[in-house]
Every structure is written in C-alpha cells, then in structure tokens.
Symmetry: D2
Subunit: 330 residues, 4 copies
C-alpha cells in the first residue's frame, strides 16, 4: 500500500520533515520516453514558495530541487525519478519555547496520541513543507497528460470576500491582528479526455476528493454544483444535451465517476491557518493547561498558497487515470 | 489495486448489475474470531431498501442475502466472507423504449465513451443497487470496530428545508411534479479511538472523502466546519483545549489526518435524483437529439435513502484504520 | 491489498471453502469489449477436475460454473465478472473421526495457531478446491492476451520417473500402498510479446515465482536453467545472439525481469500429496499424541492435476503485465 | 501499486542507477518507537560491498549512507525513513566502447525493447547496485522483528563444489579464465513466530519466492525440501509430530502458507555472473552482429555476495507479515 504514497500506476512517495535535512519525492510509474522539462517543475515550485508577498509567510525557501535518477539525456527511462529539496532557513528556536505543548488546530495532539512520539520542530512531517512533493509530482503529471489538458486554479473567496482587492486587504488585516482566514480555491481542467475514472470505487470524483482532502487544512471538496446541489431540483441540475453536446455543467465534468470531456470543476475549502499569534488555551503533553502565544512565520491564509497544490493534485489524479484508461479497452 | 474494491486491510469487492441475476460482495481482511451477527447485517440492509415509504422508489426488493463462505459455527475464520443478494422485481421493459439514449445526469454517456459498450438495463453496474454491497461491508465493519463506536447519520436538509415535516412535504411535491430534490446527510461517529488515520496520504479525512464521494450522486464532502471554514478566522476555528479536553469541534474529530477522539462529523451533499419524469433534451448514441420522458420507479430524493450508506462507508474506513493502527506502534 | 486476491490491474479475488455451499471468484480489471468464450473456461475447468482417471482422487465434481455479472450480449463491459461453482459430493463425515487432529503436511496446525479457529471440513479454505478460482481466472486471462500466446504445461517427472508410462505405473503403485508421490511440472509459453514485466520489484520472473509458489503443495519454482544454473559457467549460461536472434534459452525467456520474446520456461515442483492412508504420528489441538490413519479420497500425486493450474497462473501474470505494459510508454 | 516498491505494510521503494549521482531507498510503514541502530545497517551494508576479497569485483564502494528523515532523537516517528547512498568510483569509460551493444545475459536487450530507451552505463537501473536498497530495507526489517528471529544465509554450492575451500579455488580459477560461476545460497531463519503469512494468495512461501526471484540473477527458489520433493513419497515428506513438536522439517517451516515456528529454510540459485571477459556473440541495437569482449570489474560469482541480500529480503517479508498478523485476530 504505502502510507506516504499517492496514486495507482503513476504514484508518488514523499519523505522528509519540515526542519530535517531535506524533503524528497520519488515518482514511480512514469512512462519512458518523455522529454522532461525541469524548468516547468521549477516554475511550479516557485509558485508554491512562501515569502513571495506580504500575504504569505516570510520563511525563505529557494526550493531548488535536485533530480537524482530516472533520466538519460533528459528523457525518462521508465525508472523512478527521485527529487530532493534541501531545507533552508530553518529556525528551530522558534519552537523551543513551547516544546511539548499541543498547538490548537495542529496535528500535535493527535499524532502524539497515535505514535507516542512527535516531532515538534516546525510540525515535522505534518508541515505544509510536504506539499513541495505534491507540486513536483504534479509538474511531472502535467507532462504525462496530453497537451490538451489545461489545469488552472485560483482563490475565489477568502473570509466573506470574493473580490481580489478585498481579499488582499482582508488578509493583511488578519495578519496585523495576528489572526488568520479561511479560503476557497477553485480549479478547472479543460481538454480532459473522456473516459478517465474507474467505476465503481475508483471513480474520478472519488479520487479527486481523496487527493484534495489529503492536502493540509482542506475541510471540504466539491465537484461541479457541489454543496449547492442540495437546494436544486433534478430538472435544474441534470445537464441536458443536444447535438452540440452538453447545455450546462452542473456535473463538473464527471458522470458515473468518469470524465465526460466537459471542464472539470472542483472546489476545495481551506480552514484558516492554525498558527495564529493570539493567545490560545491549550494543554501540554502532560495534560497541564497552557496559554500559548506562538511566534514564528506563518501564512495568514493557507488558501492563498494552495492553488498550485490543488492544480498539482488534480494533475496527479488525471495522469494516473490517463494511464489506467489505456488498459480498459483492448 | 482492484477497481471494484475499497479498503486497504479490511477490503470489500463488489460485483453485479442492477438487472442481472444477483449482486454480491466479498469481504477480505476480516479478523478471525468474530461472532458475526447476521441479524445486524439484515437490519442495515432493510434500512437501505427502497419502497419503505411514499418518499422513495416503489421497487420491491426483499434484499435477503446469502452468506456463502468464511464462517464456522457463526464465527469468522479469517477467510473471505462472500455475500450474494438476488435481484428481484426486475422490470427491464421500462428501459426498452429508450435503449441507446443517454439519460441526463446518468453515467450512460460517459461510460459509453469509456468502454465502447454500456448496459442500458437499469443503469447496469452504475445503478444505486450496488450500494447493497456497501451496506453489507459496513455492517461487518461495525462488528470489527470496538463497541464504543456509534455511527449515526440523518438527512439534515432537502432543497431549502431542514425541518423533517417540511422535508417530507417537499419530497412529495417534487414526486408529484415528476421532479427530484437534492439533500444533505450528516453522519456523526462517537467513541472513535484516537490515532486512526495514516498521514500523510492515507489521512482519515482523505479516505472519508474518497469513500463518500464514491457513493452515487455525491457532489460534496465536508469534515467538521467544512464549507463554512472559508469565512472563519483562525481564532474562531482552532479548537482550544483545557484539562477537560477540547472546547469545540470545528475540526470534526480529525487533526493532521488522525482521529482525536472527539466526535467525527462528516456531511455529504447528494444531487437531486437524475431520473426525473419531465421531458428532457438529450441525444442517443448516434448523436441524434431526443426528447426523453422517462418512466419507471425512482427515488425523488436519493439523499433520503443515503444515511445508511453513509454510515456504512464511514464504518468501512474506520474499521480499516482500526486494523492498520495496530501495526503503527510495536 | 487483498489477502485473497492476486494481480495488479487484472486481478482475481476468490472465496469459499471445500465443504461450504460454493466457491467463487471475482475478476476485476477485465478490459471491455472481449467476446468471452465460456466454453473455453469450461474446458479448462474440466481439465482440472478430479475423478478423470484412476490416477487422481475419486471425488466427483461437475464443476459447472455460473457467471453472474459483467457481460452484455456475451461481451465484457469492463465490470467485474463473478463466477460461482457449487460444491457437490461433499462427504464431511470422512473428516468427523479426526476432528481436532492436525494432519501432517497440511495447513491445520499452522492455521489453528494463526487464527485460533480452523475449519476441519476437507481443509476448508486451504483445500485444493480453491484452485477452481485460479483456473477460471486463467481462462479469462488467456482471452485478454494476444492470440499469439500459447501456454502449455505437462508433468515431466514423478518420483524418479520421466517416462509417461513409468509415471503412471508409479502413481498406481503409490496409491495401492496408500502413499503419494511428488512431481515436477514444466510450463512453456510461446508467442509472448517482448517487454512484459516491471523492473525492479515487479519483475516477470518474480511475479511468476509468486504466483506459482502460492499454488497448494508447490515447493520450488525455476525459471529457464533454474536450479541447474548453479553448476554452470557464464560462458555456457549466457544466451548469445546473432542476427537471427538468441542462440539458446537458459534465461527461460526473461532478462532483467522483462520478457525477451523467447519461450518462457518455468518449472514447479509439487510435494507428494499430504493426505496419505498410512498411519502417521501427530497431535491434536490439545497437544495429545495421535496415530492418524486417514480415510477419504485424495490424489496420490497432486502434480498430476497441476498443469492446468500452472498454465492458468502463468496466464494471469502475463495478462496483468500485458495490460500494464500499455502504460509504460506513451 | 508501485513498480519500484516491495512490501504491503512495511514497504520499501528504491530509486537510482548504477552510474548516477546516488541511489536511495524510502522505508514506509515503519512502526513508531523503535530505537534504530544505524550501526547495524552499516554493518549489513559492509557485508554487501564488493571489493572485500579477491573473489568479488574490485569496484570500491564505501557505501556510507545518509539518513535524511524519520527519526527524532534516534527513535522512529512512524514517518518514512529516507536513505541515500552516493555513488563513487564510477568508471563509465569502461562502457563507452560497446555503447548500443546488448550484453549477453543482461537486461539490455529486453529493456531496450520495452522502453525504447536504455541506460547503458553500468546497467543503469538494472545494476546489482540496486541491492543496496534491499540491504538497508532488510536491516531495518530486522529491527522491527522480535529479537528471537535470527536470519543467516550462506553459500552452500558453487559450480559442482560444496566445500568452502574448493569453492574459493573454483571462483579464482573462473576469474582467471575470464569466466564466471553459478551458486546456491541457503538461508535459515529461526525464532520465527507462528502465524506469519496470509492465505491464500499472500502466503509466506509465495511472497518469499516473489522476494527472492526479484534479486538480480536468481533463477530458482526452493522452500524446505524444495526441488527434491519431486522424488519423495508422502510418507517421507510429511513432517510428523509428537508432543515435543515436529519430528522433521521438509516443509521448511511453512504449512498452508503460514509459518509453523520451525526454522524457515529457503534456497536461492544464482546464475553465473553475466559479465564475463571471454569473447561473446551478440548484436547491437541496430541488429548488427558484434563480437563482444567486455572489460571492467565484475564479480566472478554473484552468489558469493548474495547471502546478505537474501537475508535482507527474507527479513523484509517477515517484518511485513509480522505487522499484518497483528490485524488478523482482534
């Protein structure tokens, strides 16, 4: 199975902690013969990087990767691609003061109960730093997919706001208060071939939900009409067809778990960043009450950095099903 | 992998079509030594059955199962349990008139494009009849889980309505119009042990999203605060703790992908039943426009039958992680 | 994963006990669009059947199967194929006398220690009756593979004998003595496409060894030169090439875990049937010494019935890799 | 699935080519709380290293590993362990002369046909250098297993010889001739708990065969009596029991796919090293006949370096089943 892997045929496995030496990802099942653009990978990684604007964390990460295997003369050989990204600008001191204290909204409590040991340095394995692996896997997935496929995500709501200027203002204000905000990311994929997804338990929408909900801070995944379908009638929701194709897209590009060729539409809700700088009630690992006031560097709105991760996870799922689809008809 | 299987260690595989001879499910990874209550399985199946009230389809299905393997003297042996449920009251004629016509909102178009062949009788493999397998798997899962775990789902919204009486009235009206309604199901699991879920890609919430979105007609999965987290601030959303435990549960019982021991809270949105009895524009498999007016028997609100399925899928995920958790510390 | 499943993309899952109501197998990942010959399946099952000659057990099994799902008009739809074979001529009485006694050479002791419960009727799940599932899976696999692939197995040695007449005489004599004999089965597959097998851990030879050693009573698996390679020199063993191709086939058709297009050559050694009718020292499940003298019906040489099973397992492995190979180059 | 991974719950994934920057392995499913001995890992790696004696290749590899993740204060956290071993003493020049020529007995031809591209430098991904990953995975597996388990392998035959002195002499002579020799390795594991192995397709012997046959150059895997069972009778082969336990061990410690607690006995035959220094007929990748006379550094007998790899693969399989066994009874 692989607890730290995602995918069936196209499969990535990640390793590494926030404040360790490096994090890495191994990509397995990459078809042979792809002229791999490393530049495209780097570009996506740059989009993920914090410190790009006042809206996000000020941690500096160059996110330069090393590719250690799987290429000959720039072409994939069918062997695994191993990527390594060194950790830089690691300030573990910021975490020293509250060693043993469970930070609200973080994995600390649950993981300590689970494993009986937990790595307090920057969240360890639970850190959003792990999403570097997702982005690399996504960038290669995009190069497995046919060039017709275009995947694009954006923040469509933060707090109550949907207007970009208002969103930015709201984030800045939250940051100044030491607080954080939730946000909603929408991703659309066009040019997706029909026939991707494997009923009945490996449906395209099921695996998209799986992929998206595994992203740190995700709390909701919607396909097409999503949450709004609850208050719709069948006569509204059904996408009628004529000889030009579908007349609407409430399905979000998926029927019966299989892509229809219409644009895929997926929305992911991200909770407000758990790391805030206001005093919070919590306990330590001996059960003693603590008033925690965090220091450090954190994104005031994780959703703001999420679009590239959401795009990447969608690409991973699509590339996987694109390969599998080749085996479903002779 | 197994396209028609779900689960890692506790794993079910289903087979069968709506209008075939039978449908069945094979349960693998069931621990030895469980005194299996078949009555509990039958009770859950009865809850799933259509025809129980005017609010649902009038198809009669007794849903009596046969258990063909895996027990000695009522006790599980560790071998697979094979369940078979015969199909009854199959009226294929209802589908004859529109053979080759893609029903809006159904799998027909996508599956035909995918496989180059599709079974038009009652939806074939895409039929909600397949959920019998999920319920059986769930009923056994509940007997693997510790008795502390209590899982309960209910319909909390249909259309615009949240009041049970108003919901029933709205469904009746929709049925009379030949239309259908969407609905929202909430499931809560209490008594869940801490430590279930396997970061970072087999998180509890990720696999719940996967399981729920694989249910026919699901369009949205929410964990805890869910979709509402978008308009919240970190200082509201974070669940603080004191020496009595958590002071709120926006997390929905999961932090860092691992259960915290708080109640698990999951919501699933179901689209309005695709089979409606109003005229709809569509095409047939040669691309000719058709005005489709369906006949037959269909639930006007699939959400209304969904709670037992949602409970079952949650039980399957929890039982799987309950077993896996035994391997994560020596 | 699936403890009772075999295969990656083309995957079969079996269930059922020797003396239960039925045994069955579910085939997943079968490509859509295959005109399935049920006659071919029945023919293979007939070859597996005991009672065909004096050399094998006298248990009568008609082995008529029912196919319960996955076909429309005789063509595969991509959905799982579910096969059921009812158990007949079950004489559990034969096992009553020695309930609780561990039969030497059987699974009894090990399974009882493992599960704390074991089904003593005819070996339960451990019975060779399970190989019906393998043969059905193999018969469908052969219909997934290109028609060029021809798989043929035969018994090449029993005891010390390699001559067919001597083999038959030796088996008869062993039967008269109440004893049993080991045997060696060789399978050759010609017309296998190049490029099947997935280095470095899903090598073709590795998965063949896995498949073959999972057959009841198998103790040794050899590829090509097999056990004899130990006493060879590289200059003998290496298969040289000229412009007509390979000049020898010590490799057995596999290099670096991948098929070369040469004939696949695999040999499987089967131990003598564990059920013999001579007195044997053993213990019961309370540790008491017992002198066991079995009655019942058993093959005096399991190898004699094994060729069709060996062919089937090879077909399953090849069909699986045939599908996977489609995803390894774009 | 993961083509470059091995194991179910305890699972390792390797990457890297012989003449690339490094090779590595990621270990997933390692239980939390293990005080990991890195020294033990290094010791096993040293045993694998070539250049230790005149009997093996003269390539110098220090095989010092870096551990990049998964530990806090020397204790496993449940997160993946990532190991990296840099490649040193890489002499690609040795391979320049025969670029594009298929070396007899090597993966070259098959992989080129499969992928349409192949890495000629030192065998690329097909190199025995990959076995570093197996040894690391095995060394950690040994620390997951109960301390009662002792695994020990040795070369029991090379060519026709079984006496250690004669074996060494035969290898030296083969080396002087530019030729190579096959060999047989036997591994015995004592102290193995009863109940490991998951019938009926994940049997202990089946997965051992799978693991062993995936080792480069393996051609035969035997369990217990192995190949010799062919010429035995049931009355000889069956291991009788009395109140002191088993009276013999032809089963090799496994009955019905499950460990009995007796010593596990497994033998693996390794073909003679494919790289020999005598002239050989072959073709290049355009089909032209070539007379190949290899240069470079190669083991004259791969079996001589194999014991530590065989031990490692057995440990991996046992650790995996040791974890799984915890889930098979509540």
């Amino acid at each position: 199975m692989g607890l730290n892997s995602f995918g069936i045929l196209y499969r990535f496995s990640s390793w590494g902690e926030s404040h360790g030496k490096a994090i890495g990802v191994v990509l397995d099942g990459v078809p042979a013969g792809i002229h791999l653009s490393l530049e495209m990978i780097q570009n996506l990684l740059h989009r993920r990087r914090p410190g790009l604007s006042v809206y996000t964390s000020s941690r500096k990460e160059s996110d330069e990767f090393e590719l250690l295997s799987g290429l000959v003369d720039g072409i994939t050989t069918g062997a695994p691609l191993s990527f390594l990204v060194k950790n830089e600008d690691v300030k573990s001191n910021a975490y020293q003061e509250f060693l043993g204290v469970y930070r609200p909204g973080h994995a600390d409590y649950a993981w300590d109960k689970k494993y009986g040991i937990w790595d307090p340095h920057g969240g360890g394995r639970a850190s959003a730093r792990e999403t570097v692996a997702r982005v690399i896997a996504g960038a290669v997935a995009m190069q497995i997919l046919p060039p017709s496929v275009v995947i694009s995500a954006r923040v469509v709501q933060v707090g109550e706001y949907q207007d970009p200027d208002e969103i930015q203002e709201a984030i800045l204000k939250a940051k100044q208060r030491g607080d954080s905000l939730g946000g909603l990311v929408e991703v659309v994929a066009t040019g997706v071939p029909t026939g991707l997804g494997e009923p009945v338990y490996e449906k395209l929408d099921a695996r998209i939900a799986y992929a998206m909900m595994s992203i740190p801070a995700a709390k909701c995944v919607e396909i097409g009409s999503g949450r709004n379908c609850v208050s719709m009638q069948g006569s509204q929701h059904n996408d009628e067809m004529d000889d030009n194709g579908f007349l609407s897209n409430h399905a979000g590009g998926i029927l019966g778990g299989v892509s229809t060729g219409q644009p895929l539409v997926v929305r992911v809700s991200f909770k407000p960043t758990a790391s805030i700088f206001l005093p919070q009630k919590t306990v330590d690992n001996r059960g003693n009450p603590v008033c925690l006031k965090l220091k450090g560097r954190h994104d005031p709105c994780v959703a703001y950095r999420a679009p590239v991760i959401v795009e990447s996870m969608l690409a991973v799922v699509l590339a996987d099903f694109f390969l599998i689809a080749r085996t479903r008809r002779l």
